[in-house]
């Protein structure tokens, strides 16, 4: 049992698990065994509870008996308080726990100096009797106040420290810090030097919402996570939301998960990526919840476990609202595939929401998750950093578990808020779907665009989203002069464009006809000219013949004159029939 053995010295710090969710992970295994841990905190930060929980867990889970030395409360109060967390201390007390009421009776009279030798001797005996491994002194500041003497305080604290080292017990001392500042009252500074591990608990109230966190300030001979982590006092005791352990390689899936909307799946080349996170932004009424509902219904129909966490809107409201657009969640709620988690905004702090969510996620083990809306749930006051930190915490959880998640957020236009939170959150997510409405011609049309989608080629168009009792459909954007048209405006534009096309066709027909007519007329004229040419040529021949006859009459041959007139009359007559025929043909063609 002696920690001074060679093995113990060379093995480095041994750890004693606390059994408190994520505390052991933050401290890389728990509290230092056979050493002193100091838990400092403001009033109401959970010091006593933390110490008690370490003791109870030790007794329950590792069969390590423990002693609780109560300077502040009496053991009855402690047992009563513990019962509210479902810890049956009375049963445990009989077997493995011992409570020492160390409250100084208010009637006790003080005269001169005293020390803790007697108490420590008693505790040694008791520890040996029950085989104790863990011991809590709650709280040392009450003890120090009794001593009321700087030198005596140090002497007695070192006495406890040395006694712990010799006894082989793992000790937890609690001490109250006077203010909300992280620094313990100067008076107790030396406590921090003395202890091997120092844990600071803080309790703040932000905009009337209570907030707690824990931070390991020091841990001799051990590594630990140095950040402050949210701490929540829930129905099962203290819960801490750690970093989720070492930075892990998230499971990578290439599978697509249907969004529940066929058109959106097409847009995203098959759907959302399995195990990834989708950010869905938009103003109220842009159908964020509907899209989430479609996603969940599709998942349930595939037989996957799903979880819907919402704020302010009760499960019944959501189910009945979604039923009106043809999304039926009730059967899945009944079968247990779908679980609803909801809470009112003011009921819990962001950290409490986070930890409750984690509990529900761990219990239900969903494959698909919707958090609607995200910010409201993870926001503590106006602290933007806090939202981001909390979102990161949640993302680690969902990504590690390979849960496909949709987080929704109220946001009007992504381009207008480039410097604000949603943008910063968006960098943490893999897909960003933005919903909006476009106001045109006295109507409001829903629009959907995929702002980003990591690792997926996707359309950059704004699509019109139509909700009907048949479900959700998307229409490609109809762009005119750089403006996307939707709804009636789009329909009108389409009709206008169609009738314009018809007119153009008719006009072209008309023009073609006119040109054909012109062509026919020209052909007719050409034939007329050709006939005229024939007539002129015939006339020329006659003229030549006459000339020859006159030369003959001079030599005595006059009877050729009637011949000449016949030729002149018949010739053109025959030819003129031909002209009329071809001219008619041309006109017929023209008609």
């Amino acid at each position: 049992m002696s920690p001074e053995s060679y093995e113990a010295l060379t093995a480095g710090i041994q750890k004693m698990p606390t059994g408190i969710a994520d505390f052991d992970e933050i401290t890389d295994g728990g509290l230092p065994r056979h050493r002193t841990t100091l838990v400092i905190g403001t009033p109401g930060s959970g010091k006593t509870l933390l110490a008690l929980q370490v003791l109870v867990n030790g007794a329950k889970h590792w069969g390590e008996p423990g002693i609780f030395v109560a300077f502040e409360e009496n053991s009855h109060q402690i047992i009563q308080n513990a019962a509210t967390f479902g810890w049956d201390l009375l049963t445990l007390e009989r077997e493995r726990l011992f409570f020492l009421d160390a409250r100084m009776s208010p009637e006790a009279i003080q005269s001169g100096d005293f020390d803790l030798l007697g108490m420590l001797a008693s505790l040694s005996a008791k520890a040996a009797e029950i085989g104790a491994k863990r011991i809590v002194f709650d709280s040392v500041d009450v003890l120090l106040a009794l001593l009321d003497n700087g030198r005596a305080e140090r002497r007695e604290l070192y006495r406890i420290h040395d006694w712990l080292a010799q006894s082989g017990l793992t000790g937890i001392l609690t001490a109250r810090s006077e203010s909300d500042e992280s620094v313990v009252a100067h008076r107790y500074d030396f406590l921090q030097y003395m202890a091997d591990c120092v844990v600071l608990l803080q309790h703040k109230v932000l905009e009337s919402i209570s907030q707690r966190d824990m931070r390991v300030i020091k841990f001799r001979g051990s590594r630990f996570a140095e950040n402050a982590f949210p701490l929540v006092i829930s129905t099962s005791g203290i819960e801490i939301f750690g970093s989720g352990g070492e930075a892990k390689q998230f499971p990578v899936y290439t599978e697509r998960v249907s969004s529940g909307v066929a058109d959106l799946d097409t847009l995203l080349v098959g759907g959302y990526l399995r195990g990834r996170t989708v950010l869905m932004t938009g103003l109220p009424g842009t159908a964020k919840t509907t899209l989430c509902g479609a996603f969940l219904e599709a998942a349930c129909l595939r037989g996957e476990r799903t979880l819907l966490a919402s704020l302010d809107e009760s499960s019944d409201e959501i189910v009945s609202n979604l039923a009106s657009v043809g999304i039926h969640l009730q059967p899945h709620l009944d079968s247990g595939l779908l679980k609803m988690y909801w809470s009112s905004r003011e009921a819990l702090s962001a950290e409490e929401h986070l930890i409750s969510l984690r509990r529900v996620i761990r219990e239900h083990q969903p494959q698909c998750l919707v958090i609607n809306p995200l910010w409201m749930m993870l926001q503590s006051g106006r602290d933007i950093l806090n939202i981001i930190t909390n979102t990161q915490r949640l993302l680690l959880l969902t990504k590690n578990a390979g849960i496909t998640s949709i987080f929704t957020s109220l946001l009007s236009d992504p381009s207008e808020h480039s410097e604000e939170t949603p943008y910063q959150i968006s960098t943490l997510t893999d897909t960003w779907v933005h919903l909006s409405y476009i106001l045109q011609a006295g109507e409001r049309n829903r629009a959907l665009s995929v702002v980003k989608s990591r690792g997926v080629p996707h359309s950059n168009q704004v699509h019109q989203m139509i909700l009907s009792d048949k479900g959700i459909t998307l229409r490609d954007g109809y762009a005119v002069n750089g403006q996307v048209l939707m709804g009636r405006r789009r329909n009108a534009q389409e009709t206008a464009d169609q009738s314009k096309g018809e007119r153009t066709r008719l006009e072209i027909d008309q023009q073609r006809r006119e040109l054909e007519l012109t062509e026919a007329e020209i052909k007719t004229r050409i034939q007329t000219f050709q006939l005229e040419l024939g007539v002129k040529r015939a006339a020329l021949r006659l003229l030549e013949l006459e000339q020859t006859q006159q030369q003959g009459e001079v030599s005595g041959q006059p009877q050729d004159a009637p011949l000449l007139s016949d030729t002149r009359l018949d010739g053109p007559g025959t030819k003129s029939d031909g002209i009329q025929t071809s001219s008619d043909n041309a006109l017929n063609q023209g008609n």
Partner: protein, 109 residues
Amino acid sequence: MTLPSDPTPDTSNGDTGELLIITLYVAGHSLNSLRALTNLKTICQTYFPGYYQLDIVDIFDDPLRAVKDKVLVTPTLVKTAPAPVIRIVGDLRETETVVLALQSVGKKS
């Protein structure tokens, strides 16, 4: 160990003469405990000669007794009779305080 009380009670302090039963819890031979023992003996012999019964418990010898009696700091003096029970912690260096505490309560009965 029980110290025998003085065989001839001195009633000069005008007390009722009721037996004073006190227990002093000490931690071995530590400084505060030794001082308390010395101081207490002087007080008893001076102010309550002959009618006190002093029981001394060394917690190092009987550590579980202290737990049972709910004694935490050492030295602690407990007066069990006459009623009511009274506790005085410290090395009992302030004689007047200690005497008054033991006496005034005793006088009421």
